[in-house]
């Protein structure tokens, strides 16, 4: 089979929103530094932090760039900090202790860039938001299920409503990672593309060290990449002014549904279409839907979505959006490059699509005046270099000639 243009372009778009391997490395270094900082002499959490580990998108390799006006490279990284239960009693106690421990004293390293949220503490770097969620493990169940525990929910303005929420994000990440299909042919070629983008990223950010080769980064599943494209599409859809009062569906729910409904035939376009339809069908219901963490059913993944007063309407909105995404990807698979670009721009954003096209042209030598370009007469296609599929052995490079013009006089 010849490399498919839509798959190639979708790969280029997704590669541009990935957390570059070198930034992944930076994230790991940073959370190591935070862990050490929490253990400093005058820290309220000295000897009280049992473990810090990644959760959410970074734990399943599905982190994507945040939407921002300047199109800066900005990523959200989520961590769990397991804390000794003796630190406090109420949900607010644990959040507050973590907040004070990270913020430190005036003039200290995180003082000006630490914010407390309802469930986590955020460290704002110029290129990264690191959300650290405190967790305690107290019940018998917590002791028997690896990394199950409860996290705090405490809005400082509404402390009367504070509560603990059951959680096992580590178990969920492991479940999702195990469920993602392993299509080696796709993953190996996609890793080449990711590496190319990482080189470009490093050219812009000279202070960052290249990431050491990591096996887990080099084997991204086609389903994970499709999930990232769906997440990007939702970023765009939910950035519309008429949706500013709506809460975005939790991406953890999409991640779980993607993993459990994976197609895994190796085609990125097919995967996006398939997942969009399956997730849309799941939410195409007149009843409010509850999605639980299969590794720990007390962990309700839909606990903050939809909003209580809109329930079914929010679900319907998500469902309609994903049906529309599936239809558009089906449609672009038959369109010319220009018509395809118009739709991809609408789905994933103008700059991202423009740059993906530039890279697609460059990789395939389509941006130069050369007539030594190989073709595949058997299928009538231009022979693409092929990130998503192997190059074709039926390629032919025709003899050189020059395009001419004029009027038809025959």
């Amino acid at each position: 089979m010849t490399a498919n243009t839509t798959d190639e372009l979708l790969s280029d778009i997704s590669a541009r929103i990935q957390l570059p391997p070198s930034m992944h490395n930076v994230a790991v270094e940073r959370y190591g530094t935070v862990a050490k900082y929490l253990e400093r002499e005058n820290s309220p959490l000295k000897d009280k932090v049992i473990e810090i580990y990644t959760q959410g998108s970074i734990a399943i390799g599905a982190t994507i760039k945040s939407m921002n006006d300047k199109d800066d490279d900005l990523y959200d990284i989520d961590l769990i900090a397991e804390i000794d239960p003796s630190v406090g009693n109420t949900p607010d106690d644990f959040l507050d202790a973590l907040y004070r421990s990270i913020k430190g004293e005036r003039g200290s390293r995180y003082y000006d860039c630490t914010e407390r949220q309802t469930r986590c503490v955020t460290i704002q770097y110029k290129d990264m938001h690191v959300d650290i969620t405190p967790m305690i493990r107290v019940s018998h169940e917590h002791q028997t299920i690896a990394r199950a525990g409860k996290i705090s929910h405490a809005d400082p303005q509404k402390l009367q409503e504070q509560d603990f929420v059951e959680n096992n994000s580590a178990g969920l990440s492991a479940h999702i990672n195990e469920s993602m299909p392993d299509v080696q042919a796709f993953s190996k070629r996609y890793a080449v593309l990711t590496e190319q983008y990482d080189h470009r990223f490093l050219e812009k950010r000279a202070e960052i060290q290249p990431a050491p080769e990591q096996e887990d980064l080099a084997s991204k599943s086609v389903t994970t990449v499709a999930l990232q494209l769906i997440k990007r599409y939702m970023q765009i859809a939910w950035s519309a002014p008429d949706r500013k009062d709506f809460r975005k569906p939790p991406t953890v729910v999409l991640s779980l549904l993607a993993a459990e409904n994976a197609l895994g035939n190796g085609s990125l376009a097919d995967e996006v279409i398939h997942l969009s339809k399956r997730i849309a069908e799941t939410f195409d219901s007149n009843q409010p839907l509850t999605v639980c963490n299969p590794t720990y059913p007390k962990d309700i993944l839909t606990d903050r979505w939809p909003e209580q007063d809109r329930l079914v309407e929010d679900q319907k909105m998500l469902s309609d959006d994903l049906y529309a995404l599936a239809r558009d990807i089906e449609l672009i698979s038959q369109l010319s490059l220009k018509d395809k670009k118009d739709i991809l721009t609408k789905l994933f954003g103008e700059k991202l699509t423009e740059r993906a096209y530039e890279n697609f042209y460059e990789r395939n030598n389509l941006n130069t005046k050369q007539d030594t370009r190989a073709v595949v007469p058997k299928t009538g296609a231009i022979a693409l270099v092929g990130i998503t599929k192997p190059s074709n052995s039926n390629e032919v490079t025709p003899p050189k000639k020059t395009s001419w013009g004029g009027f038809d006089e025959d």
């Binding site: 498919n4 243009t5 839509t6 672009i332 698979s333 038959q334 369109l335 010319s336 490059l337 220009k338 018509d339 395809k340 670009k341 096209y357 042209y361 389509l366 941006n367 130069t368 005046k369 050369q370 007539d371 370009r373 073709v375 595949v376 007469p377 058997k378 299928t379 009538g380 296609a381 231009i382 032919v396 490079t397 025709p398 003899p399 050189k400 000639k401 020059t402 395009s403 001419w404 013009g405 004029g406 009027f407 038809d408 006089e409 025959d410």
Partner: protein, 205 residues
């Protein structure tokens, strides 16, 4: 490349084996094949018509048609070509019916032209794929990404210009290209018919 003429049967056999093109009509004066080209994802139905050299005996004369360049038409979809599109994207614009504007695959005088000793499956068909691929990229970027030359001398590609400079430096004879080369060919055909008619007349008297 084989320098002997490749028969229509052999061309058809190779097209069938190596491309999507199939024979749709084979007449004494022309043969037509149709096939599907998908340079990227969009499908194009293409016809290639080859006009054979032939003569028609009339009561008072003979019409002789010399061989002509193969005519390559996009049958579907309708590209809705304008004159400007045709100039930029290298079609011979058909004023009466723009849908029937043939692709200008190669320069009629300079460089390589197709001839019937060449297998179409290895020359014409790959050139059509390249041409329609360039057409889609031109639609997106406004730039023609194959070496090009225009009848009025505008938009010559760098490569072609370099070749010309080389030619000049060798002080070789410069080829004069008539501005309207199609008219030139039509005039040639009329002249040939006239010469043959006079020849036939002299033989009978």
């Amino acid at each position: 490349m084989d320098l002997t003429r490749i028969s229509i049967e052999e061309q058809t056999r190779r097209l069938h084996r190596e491309t999507t093109f199939r024979l749709v009509s084979d007449l004494p004066w022309k043969t037509t094949w149709k096939g599907e080209i998908t340079p990227f994802d969009r499908d194009y139905t293409i016809s290639i018509t080859l006009y054979h050299s032939h003569r028609i005996n009339l009561k008072n004369g003979i019409i002789v048609n010399p061989p002509r360049n193969p005519r390559v038409i996009v049958e579907h979809p309708d590209l809705k070509l304008t004159v400007q599109d045709s100039l930029d994207a290298h079609f011979y614009f058909n004023r009466e019916n723009p849908r029937l504007s043939p692709l200008c695959l190669y320069h009629p005088v300079e460089g390589l032209q197709w001839s019937d000793d060449m297998p179409m499956s290895e020359t014409l068909v790959p050139w059509i794929i390249q041409h329609l691929g360039a057409y889609e990229i031109w639609q997106d970027t406004g730039t023609w990404n194959l070496p090009e030359k225009h009848p009025d001398g505008s938009k010559d590609s760098e490569e072609t210009e370099k070749d010309e400079k080389k030619e000049k430096s060798k002080d070789t004879k410069k080829t004069i290209i008539p501005k309207n080369h199609s008219l030139f060919y039509t005039a040639s055909r009329i002249a040939i018919v006239e010469i043959l008619f006079q020849y036939e007349q002299s033989q009978t008297t």
